[in-house]
């Protein structure tokens, strides 16, 4: 068995990703609002990105920046109300998820695209065995018999490094340790041989030693297309091919991983990188801290959402939200100042 997604032939490159191949997963101009008691919160504002086959895109940002809302809304997993997706398009291998019926959507989720979450305990049903839950998807999507699905469950558990998979397959979620349960969730997500894996902070609740095991496991699936949401810049540095940085519901910078870490252009990205204490720092000065707080999503300013905390702000930043523009090859930033610098460089 292989979890390798079929390679796209590239025969009809409708949309070009920066790599020049047809993207497997595309989010275009997505807008999501939440109705709250304080008013309408604009959680996701014109977010767009694409993932090429075999590519890993990391989405980074702090709490409330819209990372999770973007992904949940893209897969139509957000409850409506209170959420409302007010615009945008999401394509999985060319299929527009927003045009599907509920039933058609169920066929795509888990087969073409699957998701792993931060909290593996609440992602599993506590009263069904691990094996039953891994089997459920492959029986539905791949029409396997009960017996074949069980055999596949054991094989998948073995593949993700769960010891004694023969025994574990009949155990309940609470009987597994956190690290093992996270592996089982990855086994469940990959059992249907999806084209795209969406991972929302899947290692945040784990100890670093177990996190290192999981990251090594994910890296071993080289052909898988991955969207990896994380606030941990170290994890992102080791895993991602490209990085998108979100702030207040918008992508404010995106580019190849090396560009983002070594040549960030948006003042927020720069400050974020500076605020991480580094193990290699011989001298420990004060960390860069970003003064203030992100703006309320209920009352977003008309201009750049980072204006109030920005060190290089200018009056024009108040006029309108700067759009993402090329600042280097395959590297965009949503900042007037960064755009000027790129033009004059």
């Amino acid at each position: 068995m292989s979890t390798t997604p079929p390679l796209t032939t590239g025969a009809e490159p409708a949309t070009q990703t920066p790599l020049g191949v047809k993207p497997i997963f595309e989010v275009d101009d997505l807008q999501v609002e939440f109705r709250t008691s304080a008013g309408v919160a604009k959680a996701v504002n014109h977010v767009g990105f694409s993932v090429a086959p075999g590519e890993c895109l990391a989405i980074v940002g702090e709490s409330g920046s819209g990372k999770t809302a973007t992904l949940l809304a893209a897969l139509r997993l957000l409850p409506t109300p209170p959420s409302r997706t007010t615009g945008g398009r999401v394509l999985v291998d060319g299929v527009d998820l927003f045009s599907l019926s509920r039933k058609e959507l169920r066929d795509v989720l888990g087969r073409d695209i699957s998701m792993v979450f931060q909290d593996s305990l609440s992602a599993f049903n506590p009263i069904l065995t691990i094996g039953r839950q891994i089997s459920e998807g492959v029986r539905r999507h791949r029409g396997l018999s009960k017996k074949a699905a069980r055999a596949l469950s054991i094989e998948m558990l073995e593949r993700v490094g769960v010891p004694d998979p023969q025994q574990r397959v009949d155990q309940y979620p609470h009987q597994l340790s956190g690290g093992m349960r996270q592996r089982a969730m990855i086994a469940m997500a990959l059992a249907g041989e999806p084209k795209v894996l969406i991972a929302d902070e899947p290692t945040t609740a784990l100890d670093v030693t177990v996190q290192a095991q999981i990251l090594e496991l994910v890296r071993s699936f080289q052909d898988l297309s991955i969207v990896w949401v994380s606030h941990d810049l170290g994890v992102v540095a080791g895993l991602a091919d490209r990085v998108a940085v979100m702030y207040a519901g918008s992508i404010i910078e995106q580019g190849p991983v090396r560009d983002i870490f070594h040549d960030a252009r948006h003042p927020y990205t720069r400050a974020l990188l500076g605020s991480v204490p580094r193990l290699r720092d011989p001298e420990r000065g004060d960390l860069v801290s970003i003064p203030g707080l992100p703006p309320s999503l209920v009352d977003l300013p008309p201009g750049c959402p980072f204006y109030a905390r920005c060190g290089v702000r200018e009056d024009r930043c108040l006029s309108r939200m700067p759009e993402l523009v090329d600042v280097a090859p395959r590297h965009q930033a949503a900042c007037f100042v960064a755009a000027d610098e790129a033009r004059t460089a």
Partner: protein
């Protein structure tokens, strides 16, 4: 080590575990055979995986769990042998800052009441002066005086953590025990709080016991670092020694697992991967507790418990509990793991 503020010797905290749904009963040795000290104005970081006993250590020092044996000396006074009348006075000298600022602040009290509560309990100041003192404390942690009459829910996570720090500072403790104080905070806010801790230390000559699983934060703030595993001390040395020349294989693996936020470094380094999970504390391995996951384990590790001994050179104390402790351990473990 005569000038130590806190001296923990052979500390043990054991819990009786009743037979539960997962089976097994007996004694959980949450902390066992722990020795370390904290100097005046010093920060000691405690790191280790979940269940290694780092939080229990903090709680035992604060007196929130009872030490089973051993001693905890604060300026020459053994906190484990206090008469009930002396407890309160001793507690004033150590204060705690907790992980979750939402659940550690009473949401029905105003910020002013929260920060003033230790003053009421310890009666260090006439009540008429409380408000002024609280305003001063809030200023110290970078909060406006207007916060006094507001409630915790009106503040962000980072601001609530500042309120928790102000409360800890209220009775002018010598030692603050910080149990995962930045775990619930975002990166940029975490930086603000870490900077605040260091600024307060400079101003007040505070000592910290900084408990965290966030190794980069611990490295940033600590003078010395204690590495724990299954309730036992593994290694204790200056922060640079622990990071640059660890002599315990567990420390090597732990450091290697911390992702470095630089793609060029992170992709080209060799990770030492530990196999499996931490064993059950109800049934810890014989001899060295780390041997079941140790790439260097030999027969002797199962039979003989390694002593927590000083391997330091040129005057620096460097404690390690490993039969095979030696300089260049990182390379040794990497070579072994590559086989």
């Amino acid at each position: 080590m005569t000038d130590a503020l806190l001296e923990v010797s052979d500390l043990a905290v054991h819990f009786n575990a009743k037979a539960g749904a997962r089976g097994g009963s007996g004694v959980v040795k949450a902390v066992d055979g722990l020795d370390f000290s904290i100097g005046h104005g010093e920060t000691v970081g405690v790191v280790g995986e979940s269940g290694c006993g780092k939080s229990t250590t903090g709680l035992a020092i604060q007196g929130l769990v009872k030490a089973t044996s051993g001693s905890i000396m604060l300026d020459g006074v053994d906190l484990t042998k206090l008469k009930s009348r002396q407890v309160r006075a001793a507690r004033r000298r150590t204060q705690m800052v907790f992980q979750d600022p939402t659940s550690s602040l009473n949401m029905r009290m105003t910020v002013g009441q929260i920060v003033a509560e230790p003053l009421l309990v310890h009666e260090t100041l006439p009540k008429a002066q409380h408000r002024e003192r609280v305003a001063e404390l809030l200023g110290l942690v970078g909060m406006p005086e207007s916060a006094l009459d507001r409630y915790p829910h009106e503040f962000s996570g980072g601001q609530r953590q500042r309120i928790g720090i102000a409360r800890a500072l209220a009775v002018e403790p010598d030692l603050i025990i910080c149990d995962e104080p930045t775990a619930a905070l975002d990166v940029s806010i975490r930086a603000q709080v870490l900077n605040l801790f260091r600024e307060l230390q400079r101003k007040r000559d505070l000592s910290y016991l900084f408990i965290s699983h966030d190794l980069s934060a611990v490295h940033h703030i600590s003078d010395r670092i204690l590495v724990m595993y299954l309730g036992r001390p593994m290694e204790l040395a200056s922060r640079d020694t622990v990071y640059n020349d660890p002599q315990h294989p567990y420390t090597v693996a732990l450091m290697s697992a911390v992702p470095i936020p630089d793609p060029d470094v992170e992709r080209n380094r060799k990770h030492v991967l530990l196999q499996g999970d931490v064993p059950s504390p109800l049934n810890p391995p014989s001899g060295c507790v780390f041997r079941t996951r140790c790439p260097l384990a030999q027969d002797v590790c199962a039979t003989e418990k390694p002593e927590f001994r000083d391997v330091g050179t040129n005057g620096e104390k460097h404690m390690v509990a490993c039969h095979f402790a030696q300089p260049g351990m990182a390379d040794l473990v990497a070579a072994k793991a590559a086989q």
